[in-house]
């Protein structure tokens, strides 16, 4: 088991292997992610019950929660990749960070935007300087700094290292930001779903929500693979294996 995992990890570092496998995986993942998003949207928007307090407005939860949760997961996964890059100099980790940063920034933005649209009718305001909103905004700024850093270095390797350093410093700082804004101000409702404890959301709403979360995660997987393939083909366009591959097609 451990040996298989180790083999998989080493294979993951190889661009040709990844390019080959991802080409096969992408259509399947893409199909299921779109399917799940369509199902959960229809279920959430038309068939799940209306909320007793918030009315129909709450239905934006089926976009808001997946977007915000995936935006944090992407950041933490990027920081793991940053560690891998700095320790083992695995080129694939650099590709991963560069490809996933714009996706993470996009989902953080979607989360902020859908939150504003949700906040307008329920809190009566588009934006409040609440703890969770602020830490999500800071997350967005970190993403922007990471994306901005990509273009300041001439060599690809230096840019990847610089971005990895920023990502790691950011991940150390993010819990501090979270905690400090928590003490500062909180208006946001506490999380409705908990893995360990009882969820405070009815199961008729929970199932489409979980489906939409799964759909968005698969969608990120799908777009992430696409972006990584594009990045690999731009980095490796002069390599032998890539020329051979493109001449075959």
């Amino acid at each position: 088991m451990f040996q298989a995992l180790k083999n998989f990890y080493h294979k993951l570092g190889s661009f040709p292997w990844f390019y080959k496998i991802s080409g096969k995986v992408i259509p399947i993942v893409g199909f299921f992610s779109i399917l799940l998003i369509v199902i959960s949207s229809i279920w959430g928007l038309f068939f799940s019950p209306t909320d007793a307090v918030q009315g129909d407005v709450y239905r934006i939860i089926y976009f808001h929660v997946p977007a915000v949760s995936v935006s944090q997961v992407i950041y933490y996964s990027m920081s793991v990749a940053a560690g891998v890059f700095l320790i083992w100099r695995m080129k694939m980790a650099g590709v991963y960070i560069k490809s996933l940063a714009p996706i993470g920034a996009a989902f953080t933005f979607i989360g902020l935007l859908s939150g504003a649209i949700w906040g307008q009718p329920t809190w009566g305001t588009w934006w409040v300087w609440d703890a969770r909103l602020t830490s999500t905004l800071v997350l967005f700024l970190f993403y922007l700094a990471i994306i901005g850093m990509q273009s300041t270095f001439a060599s690809r390797k230096s840019a990847d290292t610089a971005v990895s350093i920023i990502t790691l410093v950011g991940v150390v700082n993010l819990p501090i930001v979270k905690k400090s804004v928590d003490w500062w101000n909180t208006l946001h409702q506490p999380a409705s779903i908990s893995i360990s404890g009882e969820s405070s959301i009815s199961s008729e709403m929970l199932i489409p929500l979980l489906l939409s979360i799964l759909g968005i995660y698969l969608f990120v997987f799908f777009t992430g693979l696409l972006f990584m393939r594009a990045e690999i083909s731009s980095r490796e366009q002069n390599k032998e294996w890539f020329k051979k591959l493109s001449s075959n097609n």
Binding site: L86, T152, K157, V169, K179
Partner: protein, 219 residues
């Protein structure tokens, strides 16, 4: 140890000979502090409430003027390259450089922030938490500045400030909160302890990260 003392002396000499390095943050600080009453209101009650935040934000922004100084000249004249080649402990050298930069760019501002008592009607009993929180909070900001400066060496871009300001957010929150707490009669020592904890926790991490960032420029 001897090389550290030599570098410390050299840094002191450079900063003291180049007066703009410590005059420009001070001038920036004084100008902005005197702009607030004109731009916002000259009502003492309004200014008094805003003063803690205004002072902290101005200190944060005035460090933006000086954070490029930490490495940029050494980078341009090539002495960073020599330090990298010297096989000495780079993190300690970086620490010395940050320390001297803090003495020349932050310490004058901290002393000058006392002037807010006259300019912003800042209550005198708030001076103690103001000075303490600035003394403990600004080194952390200088650390972030060193990292941002090391990463954006030789480039005049927004990436340095864009990296440094979001990182400084916890320090800003805890610093202003300490002052507001003490003005409302609440014990503010927990905030000061947290600021110290952040400083001690981030110090080794940022030093390593800055050294890594410096090495990037010389492959």
């Amino acid at each position: 140890m001897i090389y550290l003392i030599k570098i410390l002396k050299k840094e002191f000499l450079i900063y003291s000979r180049k007066s703009s390095s410590f005059i420009s943050p001070v001038v920036f600080f004084l100008i902005s502090i005197s702009l607030y009453p004109i731009g916002i209101s000259n009502d003492p009650d309004i200014l008094k409430n805003l003063a803690p935040g205004l002072i902290w934000i101005t200190v944060l922004l005035s460090t933006l003027i000086s954070f490029q100084n930490i490495f940029s000249e050494d980078y341009e004249d090539g002495s960073i390259e020599l330090l990298l080649a010297s096989r000495q402990n780079l993190s300690l050298i970086v620490l010395v450089k940050i320390f001297v930069n803090w003495i020349f760019s932050c310490l004058p501002i901290i002393i000058l922030s006392v002037s807010s008592v006259f300019l912003l009607y800042f209550p005198q009993e708030g001076l103690k938490p103001l000075i303490i929180s600035l003394l403990i909070g600004t080194p952390t900001i200088c650390l972030f500045g060193a990292l941002a400066g090391a990463l954006s060496l030789g480039k005049n871009s927004i990436t340095g400030p864009a990296l440094m300001l979001p990182l400084s957010l916890p320090v800003l929150i805890l610093g202003t909160q300490a002052i507001n707490y003490s003005l409302n009669g609440i014990n503010f020592s927990s905030n000061i302890l947290l600021l110290t904890a952040i400083l001690v926790f981030l110090l080794p991490i940022i030093l390593f990260a800055s050294v890594g960032a410096l090495k990037l420029h010389f492959n």
